[in-house]
Amino acid sequence: AQTVTQSQPEMSVQEAETVTLSCTYDTSENNYYLFWYKQPPSRQMILVIRQEAYKQQNATENRFSVNFQKAAKSFSLKISDSQLGDTAMYFCAFMKLKSTGNQFYFGTGTSLTVIP
């Protein structure tokens, strides 16, 4: 079974600063995908960034980037130039490929507060 661990239940960061959220996972699969989702107080689940395990290059989306360490099974999210709108719960997710429908496994989340 796959497990996803987010060891930081809560974090805070000053506006305009940089923060890194950690995520580790456990799997015996060689090919898989990893995602970070953001859930603001509105409760919507919003995709932030994705990473294919077979790609060594770290994914980047504007102010969001990841540090993907496949051997260490680590997938951290870096948010640069933090903004008040980044305040949200962040979930790390692992996707196992399966012919009858991919299986997704989520971490327990990190609540991020951006302080003005």
Binding site: Y33, F35, M45, M95, G101, Q103, F104, F106, G107, T108
Partner: protein
């Protein structure tokens, strides 16, 4: 916008009553999922579907059943609701293999 609508958005009911939550999609996607979200647990998969009448269990399927009689609708039923099923329920779709999930806006279910 992935065209996912969950209904109802909020529901309060009593222990022992049956409850059905509906997920409707407009994009004709094959894969649909039901999750529950609880503090300290993140999202946990209840059931999923990989086609009309094709469903399978997730990690927390006890006490829940699902049906998918047409592509656009995926129903989650609590046959006899218990207080432990008080939660926020999310429906999700996957546009295809190797694609991320897109979520509905969630249903807050309270069982008294």
């Amino acid at each position: 916008d992935a065209g996912i609508t969950q209904s109802p958005r909020h529901k309060v009911t009593e222990t022992g009553t049956p409850v059905t939550l509906r997920c409707h999609q407009t994009e004709n996607h094959r894969y649909m999922y039901w999750y529950r979200q609880d503090p300290g647990h993140g999202l946990r998969l209840i059931h999923y579907s990989y086609g009309v009448k094709d469903t399978d269990k997730g990690e927390v399927s006890d006490g829940y059943s699902v049906s998918r009689s047409k592509t656009e609708d995926f129903l989650l039923t609590l046959e006899s609701a218990t207080s432990s099923q008080t939660s926020v329920y999310f429906c999700a779709i996957t546009p295809g293999l190797n694609q991320p999930q897109h979520f509905g806006d969630g249903t807050r279910l309270s069982i008294l």
